[in-house]
Amino acid sequence: MTDQTSLVHARGLTKRYANGFTAVDAVDFDVRSGKAFGFLGPNGAGKTSTMRMIACSSPVTEGELTVIGMDPRTQGRQIKARLGVVPQNDNLDTELTVRENLEMYARYFDIPRAVANKRTDELLEFVQLAERARDQVEPLSGGMKRRLTIARALINEPDLVILDEPTTGLDPQARHLLWERLYQLKRRGATLIITTHYMDEAEQLCDHLVVMDKAKIVAEGSPRQLIDQHATKEVLELRFTDAVRDSLDGRLDGLADRIETLPDRLLLYTADGEGALEQVHQRDIPVESALVRRSSLEDVFLRLTGRSLVE
C-alpha cells in the first residue's frame, strides 16, 4: 500500500540500460510530503538514474514506482506538469534572456501569460536575479545560472522539486547562497529530492537520507540517525611520518572501536577522541598531527562502503 503522505513510492525499482549495465538495482524508498529527501553517494552510484526515472525522463526497467500518486509509465505528462526539475548540468536557453527563460518555460506548462509574468517577477526576486532580468544567460556566473535554473523549476508551482547535484562546481559563497534559498523553499512546505556527493550538503538540507553505492541503497535514515548507527560519536584523525607509520604494527590496538586506514592518515573511531589521543601520547607513538572531530556522514559512508565519497 502506498502511504497517503508519500509523494514518491518505489519498490524493487530497477534501471538497466541497453548495454546490460544495471544503474539502479531493486531499490525501495518513500519520499514524504513536505520533507527534503536526499540521495547521497559517489559518482556512478545510481543517483541520477533514479532521479531520471522519478522525473519521467528515463523509463523504469523493472519494479514499482509511483510519483504524486501516478504511474510514470502511463502518466508522464501529468506527473511532469507537477514537477520541478533542476538537472545536474545547466540547460538554460542561452538564446533567450534571463526573463524570457522563465516566461517561455511557463508557456511550455501552458500557464496563462498574466500568471506567468507575475510568477516570473516573484521568482526573479526570490533567486535574487531581478536586476539581471534583461541580460543574456551566458555571461551569468555559475551560481547565478543555478539560481535561474531553480527559479525555472518553480515556475509551475510544483508539488515536488528534484535537484540533481545542485551545488556541484560552485564556489563556497555561491553554495551557501543556494543552500539558503533551498532552505527558504523548504520552509514554505515544498518537498525536495536532492542528490549530492557532498556530505555537508546532505547534512545541511536533508531531513531524510538514503546512501547509495553501486546501484543499491546501503543505509537509510536522518543524518543524525545514520551517524549514530554507523559511526562513533567522535573521530581521532592521526598523521604519522612514513617511518613511524610502517612500524606501528598493532601499537594502536585497543584505543578505538574501529580503525580506518586511509592513504594519508588513520581514523580512530571512539566515543572519546581526546582520551584516545592522550593514550597515544602515553604509548610514546610520535604523531605528526592529530585532530579530534565529530563523526560525519563521510565516516558513515566510509564505514558502509570502505571508500570516500569524493574520490
Binding site: 522525473a55 525522463s57 528515463s58 523509463p59 505528462r77 501529468q78 511532469k80 506538469a81 514537477l83 526539475v85 538537472p87 548540468n89 540547460n91 538554460l92 536557453d93 542561452t94 538564446e95 533567450l96 524570457e100 517561455m104 518555460y105 508557456r107 511550455y108 506548462f109 501552458d110 525555472r152 509551475n156
Partner: protein
C-alpha cells in the same frame, strides 16, 4: 492538444528569430536576386534561341528561377534541421529542459516542422516577389508555389531531423551535405533539363525528392504544370513528410530517453 503544445515550440524559435527577422528577410531577398542575375542573365545570355527549346521555349532565367525556389527550400530546411537541432539535443540541451515539462517528443518534432514551415513560407514569399520583379511569374497559380515550397522544406526537414537525432557529433552532417544535398541540388532539374541526361539517370531523378518539388513549382510559376503528374509529385512529398516525421519521433524519443 498536440497542435497547441507544438505551437509553444514554434513560439520559442520565433522569440529568438524576432530580433533578427529583418536580416533574415533581407538575405532572403538578396540571394535570389544575386543568383538570378549571375546564372540567369550571365549564363542565359550565352544561349541562342535555338537552345531555348529545351527549356520549354522560355528564356533560361525564367526556367531557372522557379527551380531555384525549390532548391532554396531544401537548403533552408537542411540548415534548420542539422546544427540547430543537434544543439538542442546535445550542446545546449534545450530538449532536455523542454521534455521536463508536459511537452513530448512528438510536440518537439511537430513544433520544429511548424517552424521550418514558417521560415520557408516567408522566404518563399520573398522569393516569389523577386520572381515577379524579374517578370518570371506567368500565372496567379504561382501563389501555390509557396505552400509547395513549404511541403518540400518540411519533407526534407522531417527526414533530416530523424537523421540528426541519431548522430553523436556533427561529422555525419558534412557527408549529408556532400553526398545527398549537393547532388540533389545539381541533378534535380534545377539548372538543366533532365532530358539532357541518359535514360537511366532520368529514371533515378524521378526517385529523388527535390525533382518533384522542382517540377511542381516550375509548372505553377510558368503555367506549364503537367496536371496528370502533379498528384504523383505531391504524393511523393507528402509521403516523405509523414514517414520522416514518424521516424523522427522515434529516433528523438530513443535519443532523449538514452
Amino acid at each position: 492538444m498536440t497542435v497547441l503544445a507544438s505551437g509553444r515550440v514554434w513560439q520559442r524559435n520565433f522569440l529568438v528569430y524576432k530580433r533578427l527577422w529583418h536580416r533574415s528577410i533581407a538575405f532572403g531577398f538578396l540571394q535570389p536576386v544575386l543568383f538570378l542575375t549571375a546564372m540567369g542573365i550571365g549564363v542565359g545570355a550565352l544561349m541562342s534561341n535555338q537552345d531555348l527549346a529545351a527549356f520549354g521555349g522560355v528564356p533560361y532565367i525564367d526556367w531557372l528561377g522557379p527551380g531555384l525556389l525549390s532548391a532554396m527550400s531544401m537548403q533552408t530546411a537542411t540548415f534548420e534541421s542539422t546544427y540547430p537541432i543537434m544543439n538542442k539535443i546535445m550542446w545546449g540541451r534545450n530538449y532536455e529542459a523542454m521534455l521536463s515539462t508536459p511537452l513530448t517528443t512528438r510536440n518537439l518534432i511537430v513544433g520544429e516542422l511548424f517552424w521550418v514551415a514558417f521560415r520557408i513560407g516567408t522566404l518563399a514569399s520573398v522569393f516569389l516577389v523577386v520572381l515577379a520583379l524579374f517578370g518570371i511569374v506567368r500565372s496567379p497559380l504561382a501563389l501555390l508555389a509557396v505552400p509547395v515550397a513549404v511541403l518540400v522544406g518540411t519533407a526534407f526537414s522531417a527526414c533530416l531531423v530523424a537523421f540528426t537525432a541519431t548522430q553523436r557529433n556533427d561529422v555525419g552532417f558534412s557527408a549529408i551535405f556532400r553526398f545527398v544535398i549537393n547532388p540533389l541540388f545539381l541533378f534535380s532539374g534545377t539548372f538543366f533539363p533532365l532530358s539532357n541526361l541518359p535514360d537511366e539517370a532520368r529514371w533515378v531523378a524521378w526517385l529523388t525528392p527535390l525533382f518533384h518539388g522542382v517540377e511542381l513549382i516550375r509548372g505553377l510559376v510558368l503555367d506549364s504544370l503537367d496536371w496528370a503528374a502533379a498528384p504523383i509529385h505531391l504524393g511523393y512529398l507528402l509521403a516523405m513528410l509523414v514517414t520522416g516525421a514518424l521516424i523522427a519521433d522515434r529516433t528523438l524519443r530513443r535519443r532523449m530517453a538514452g
